[in-house]
Symmetry: C2
Subunit: 346 residues, 2 copies
């Protein structure tokens, strides 16, 4: 498998970017996180006047064998049903992408359903869902590599068509279970800190989920590396998101990371290519239990913290206007000099 | 003075609003704060399908006599210069209002400058800045009432023209000093918790600001009520913001509260008309020292927490897309039934 190589952007424009930010008619540092975001985007695009072109959100959908063990509050059929909902424009991510001006594309990464050819659905199906990792690896090495590659190719293709900012979202019943184990084995966070209620398990459901995941972990043991973890516990949508993040970053496309599942995909991808971190914007802190701990582990502060726990890329779509605002102030605000405003005296 | 009366919205649609929110194709509660926001907006408009029409942001500018005592890192002339910057479109609030689709209007509430007639500037000047509250009340009772009334009239006029959501921002060198004292005397928070670095005081400047404000407080003593506090320590922009909040709420216009100064204006207005709280959306937590404590005192969780400390209504403009998204999901998302998605089983 040939995954794209991600290299860190040059820091050669840093001083000029900081000077441009500081010249704007506002107290030094007064735009807080938007200032670091503007700096990051300038670095990524190696430009003092970066632009956000063809902002796009990809939603990857796939099913999980572990769903059959009873780890979710919703039946597996919901993955397929939600893909149809995405295609007819009725899901939260449709509404939020329209509101934020993001182009939304839906990818079948491995849903356990036969869609035939549906207008608007990008068919990159690896299989009809993963195997049940309670007893066997979720995917074969070939499937894992195919999913990573498909994601990278999709991002590369978007970059070829001028996209400079890409959000990644997902849909897959039981994928908080896959993500919980990926986060646990790749971050070292205690398993109990990584397991949440997903779509709304009650206490008994949560205890059952914990028992099932602990048993799966005991069965497989600690994977050798990120790719092995992905094969063992991952999902096709998670692998494809990880590949898309790497493909985007390799093309200097800004990567908008959504919630818990997307952050698990990021963790996998970033361990494969550490420079990915320079291209990633963490969009929100999800209410799903493990996400806050994971963000702390990654030492990042997300843009939003609204108690969302929906996935689909919804946090990325909701945060996109802030990313846009960061670029807008860098490009469009007047300087103290141009506006004739006095500078600080004390 | 006749200030508008604010009454709490009816709760008669609450059950229907909650049912509509819960019928959407998402796990129960999965949109977190956006769900409570959608509920609030439905209440405010007494509608299951509320709309955000003619979203507007008013920036009130005024000067403060206390600026002459040396409480700010910038000279007083910056208030006038920034008004000109607003009018020529180069300030942060211009950029953010354009990005968020808000109509921006600039009001001279009491800038210490003679603008003559400037295209785009709404002239409601009370005086050329307040008096220096180190030694005398910032304004007379007549000035205070005139500022409150002007704000209420401006909001009422916007409502007459179809505006249903109004953000309030401000510009006024030294106005964190006025706000700090208002917050202290009206909330009971310790003075030291209410005083911050404003536009960027260093440690010595902060100590000086604290000494000046403590002396002013000792000179005037505890004001009898919110209006007396506003007269004694307030600014014309703060009074006009408070009036505009009341005027908006009286017309069932949603009120977007920005940062520390705007929250101080809210505190004044809400103590005059407690039902204002039902109409207020707290947009962000400012990095200005006293804001987090004030928000905690008010028992509210703002939408954004990005380390901003700019004022101008910038946090309100940046948060507006989230308000819009809350209304959009309520109106535009499919229901489980309409989309044929299975509901929760566990």
């Amino acid at each position: 498998m040939m995954l794209p190589t991600v290299t860190s952007p040059s820091r050669s424009l840093d001083a000029a970017l900081r000077a441009k930010i500081d010249s704007k008619t506002k107290p030094l540092g007064a735009l807080g996180q938007l200032e670091s975001l503007a700096l990051q985007i300038g670095q990524v695009q190696a430009s003092l006047s970066p632009t956000l072109a063809q902002p796009t959100l990809l939603v990857f959908a796939a099913d999980h064998g572990i769903a059959h063990a009873g780890v979710s509050a919703y039946p597996q059929a919901v993955t397929e049903q939600m893909v149809l909902n995405f295609l007819s424009g009725g899901a939260a991510i449709n509404v939020f992408c329209r509101a934020s001006g993001l182009d939304l594309r839906i990818v079948d990464a491995g849903v356990n359903a036969d869609f035939g050819t549906l207008p608007g659905l990008i068919d990159r199906k690896i299989a009809h869902g993963t195997a049940n990792f309670a007893t066997q690896p979720a995917m074969t090495a070939a499937q894992c590599d195919a999913a990573l590659t498909a994601g990278a190719e999709l991002a590369d293709d978007l970059a070829n068509h001028g996209c400079t900012v890409l959000g990644l979202g997902e849909m897959g019943i039981a994928n908080t279970s896959a993500a919980a184990l990926l986060v646990h084995v790749l971050s070292g966070l205690p398993l109990v800190e990584c397991i949440g209620r997903g779509t709304g398990l009650d206490d008994a459901g949560l205890a059952r989920k914990h028992a099932i995941l602990a048993a799966a972990l005991a069965h497989h043991g600690q994977p050798a590396d990120a790719r092995a973890a992905l094969m063992t516990f991952g999902g096709f949508e998670i692998a494809m998101m990880a590949g898309a993040m790497l493909g985007a970053a390799a093309r200097r496309v800004l990567v908008l990371v959504d919630g818990f599942i997307a952050s698990a995909a990021y963790l996998v991808a970033q361990q494969m290519q550490p420079a990915l971190s320079d291209y990633a914007v963490f969009c929100h802190c999800s209410d799903e239990h493990g996400h806050r701990a994971l963000l702390r582990h990654l030492d990042v502060k997300p843009l939003l913290d609204l108690g969302l726990r929906l996935g689909e890329g919804s946090g990325a779509a909701l945060a996109y206007p802030l990313v846009n605002a960061a670029v807008a102030f860098l490009n469009d605000m007047a300087s103290f000099e141009s506006a004739g405003v006095s500078e600080k005296t004390a």
